[in-house]
Amino acid sequence: MQQEVVLAMLAKEPSHGYQLRARLRDALGPLGDAMNAGHVYVTLTRLERAGLLAVERPADGTDRPDRKVYALTPSGQQRVAEWIAEVGWPKPDLAEFHLKLIAAASAGLADPLTIVDTQRRELLRRLRDAQRAAMAEPDRSNAALLLEGIVLRLQADLRWLEACEKNWTHRRSVS
């Protein structure tokens, strides 16, 4: 989980750990289920150590993580502002897969076409699941919007895989 995301979720107001988790799950829908509680708290602790978050001790003095209230420090707020203004886009795995095919072909490790087909099948199954999930969500909800993005991305990736298949088939017939 990106640290900046957690910071940003606290920008509106300080909140308990469990409130944060709830807000995340609400925004991510079924994908949020995959998140495990531990992840969130680990991130929160890291951010605290980095000085971007400050903890307000609970009144009863216990040290339970879910009872802590987290709030942004001034440097935390600055970091959030910078993050919002950035235009980076999460890196897709294209280069890695591309290199995988070339390595497999040149070293004779496996048939690149088989690799492509296997990957395609996997992506298709994922597409199907994401689509099913999207249709189960209410229209125009946060979750539905996210899922639509995933579906479209997968569609684009599948198109690229089709191009890979065409290209590698041609290479084979030429050689």
Binding site: A34, A130, M135
Partner: protein, 248 residues
């Protein structure tokens, strides 16, 4: 499971369609074998020009194969007369086209009932069934609209209603979302999922992965032949998180 349930509704064996001869011979469909079981949704994907539309025409009796067989419920259809094929299209097989092919001068309900009227159903029964189908497909208030007053997605829904009008064994869909924008596509996707759930057998030809992903089985087609078959059922919901990189 009983044997009857196992018997495929639609079978194709060595299906071929060729045009021209000698140097100019074009193999639009080159030896296709296909089994479709009852209640299944089968998708056929491929780039344009790979012959998938031709294959669909052969399966549905709109065109005659140059070789091979097509069997519907174990009866051969490729050697039937034009008249028998027409009767088959009334009751057993129906079509959904990419460009909807609705009659422009008929209202939605008149378009849907046309199928039933051509099959000889009494007009009142045909009208009732048409209204019913439009209702089920969410077009209750628009049954008296002309196609020009409907959106693309709504028109395709009318086309699907028409296809269902005579309770066919199989619905063949040729690029059903080809002319639709993404919102309408989602609409039709939902529709096909609902059809699938209701037990309708579907064969869909498409180049859109999203439509293909609704199927139980998917075939990849290239240069007139199937090159790959993928079974898509088998949920991987648990791995959804991996899709968004929530685990790093």
């Amino acid at each position: 499971m009983s044997e009857a349930a196992d018997m495929p509704v639609l079978r194709a064996r060595g299906l071929r369609k060729e045009y021209g001869k000698g140097e100019g011979l074009v193999r639009a469909v080159d030896g296709v074998d296909l089994d479709v079981s009852a209640g299944e949704t089968v998708a056929i994907m491929g780039p344009s020009g790979c012959g998938k539309s031709t294959l669909l025409h052969l399966l549905g009796g709109l065109d005659r194969p140059s070789g091979g067989e097509v069997l519907l419920n174990n009866r051969r259809t490729d050697n039937l007369s034009e008249k028998a094929l027409a009767r088959m299209r009334r009751t057993d097989i129906s079509y959904v086209f990419q460009s909807f092919h609705l009659m422009e001068e008929l209202t939605a309900v008149e378009n849907v009932e046309l199928s039933a009227l051509l099959a000889g159903r009494p007009p009142r029964a045909a009208r009732r069934r048409a209204e019913q189908l439009l209702d089920q497909l969410g077009l209750a208030g628009r049954s008296r609209f002309l196609p020009s007053a409907l959106s693309g997605g709504q028109r395709q829904r009318v086309a699907v209603a028409r296809a269902l009008s005579n309770e066919p064994l199989i619905v063949l869909a040729d690029e059903p979302t080809g002319n639709l924008d993404s919102a309408a596509t989602l609409d039709v996707l939902r529709l096909f999922e609902e059809l699938h759930e209701s037990g309708q057998t579907l064969v869909i030809v498409t180049h859109d992965a999203r439509i293909a992903a609704t199927a139980d089985r998917m075939f990849s087609m290239r240069d007139g032949a199937f090159v790959d078959e993928t079974r898509l059922t088998g949920g991987t919901t648990g791995q959804l998180g991996a899709l968004v990189g929530l685990e790093d």
